[in-house]
């Protein structure tokens, strides 16, 4: 019974994170959604470890991998955001989809800095 409760918690966290990752425009907010989804993986792995196979440490190893994935996701996400911002003055996923920076609807010019382009 408790297993189902934990898994429902994980499902809810995953869905909230998915909503954020799909609906947010800012790269940083998208990453917050991704973090919530990985968080759900942590809860799932921990709950499945205790309630189905506590004798083998596989579930715990999976939690460790998920925590690492979170750290890697954040470091690389911010590095890419920084590189993107530096090159194109863009911090929103919609504008990052364009291959060329040719103005148009994506160019809001709201940011200072990066004037040497």
């Amino acid at each position: 019974m408790m297993l189902e409760a934990y898994l429902l918690l994980a499902a809810a966290l995953f869905s909230v994170g998915l909503f954020g990752a799909l609906s947010q425009q800012s790269v940083v907010m998208v990453m917050m959604g991704l973090e919530l989804m990985v968080n759900a993986v942590i809860v799932t792995a921990a709950a499945l470890w205790l309630y189905t196979s506590p004798q083998s440490p596989d579930g715990q190893v999976l939690v460790l991998v998920a925590v690492t994935a979170m750290a890697v996701e954040m470091a690389m996400g911010f590095a890419v955001t920084t590189a993107l911002f530096r090159a194109r003055d863009v911090d929103m996923v919609d504008m990052a989809a364009d291959l060329a920076d040719r103005g148009g609807p994506g160019d809001h010019g709201g940011h200072g800095g990066g004037g040497e382009r």
Binding site: Q25, M32, A46, Q60, V61, V65, F78
Partner: protein
């Protein structure tokens, strides 16, 4: 009984603060709402008897969220939320997709006949974890180490705008690097 109550509080708190991340205007508050969500899940993991991993989640997530706060303030147009503005696209579609995913996952959770636990958990799960990553699952540990190292290098390369030619001159002959901020060791 106590465990059920604590779990219920943690579960509701984790989901509510997770939802608050995308509801509040202030980016600082969004970051700390996400941190609260992680603290609640850390407590839930502690309830499962995984004391090491639970505390590790708390430790790591506080640090991670503080770094996140820095980047939030750096990149968001409206970090303090003083001028309410909307930065979302296709909100209804996202809502429909995530609600559908939740219903699907919940149906799976309820309908799948989960196997019974085969035995009691070890006395010290952290010890079992350590033995696993240093023994049978050593490949995981090695890969994690490699990936983290590669991440450090790649993130630094991506994020920095200055290379060695900026620091040591075009022919790399400069004796001391020309850095915007000097280091602490006589450089």
């Amino acid at each position: 009984m106590t465990e059920t109550v604590v779990f219920a509080v943690c579960a509701v708190g984790a989901v509510a603060s997770g939802a608050a991340v995308f509801a509040v205007d202030s980016m600082a508050r969004a970051t700390f709402a996400l941190l609260a969500s992680f603290l609640f899940t850390g407590t839930a993991v502690l309830l499962l008897g995984l004391s090491y991993l639970g505390v590790l989640v708390v430790l790591m997530m506080v640090m991670e969220m503080m770094v996140m706060a820095v980047f939030m303030v750096m990149y968001m147009m409206n970090p303090a939320g003083l001028m309410p503005m909307s930065m979302v696209h296709n909100r209804n579609g996202a809502l429909a997709v995530s609600a559908g995913v939740f219903l699907l996952l919940a149906a799976g959770v309820v309908l799948v006949p989960w196997p019974e636990a085969g035995g009691a958990p070890p006395a010290d799960p952290a010890f079992a974890l350590g033995e696993a990553v240093m023994g049978r699952h050593m490949l995981v540990m090695m890969l994690v180490g490699m990936v983290l190292f590669a991440t450090m290098v790649a993130a630094t390369v991506l994020a920095t705008s200055r290379g060695r030619y900026d620091r040591y001159g075009d022919d790399l002959r400069r004796e001391h690097p020309d850095d915007p901020i000097g280091g602490g060791l006589g450089r």
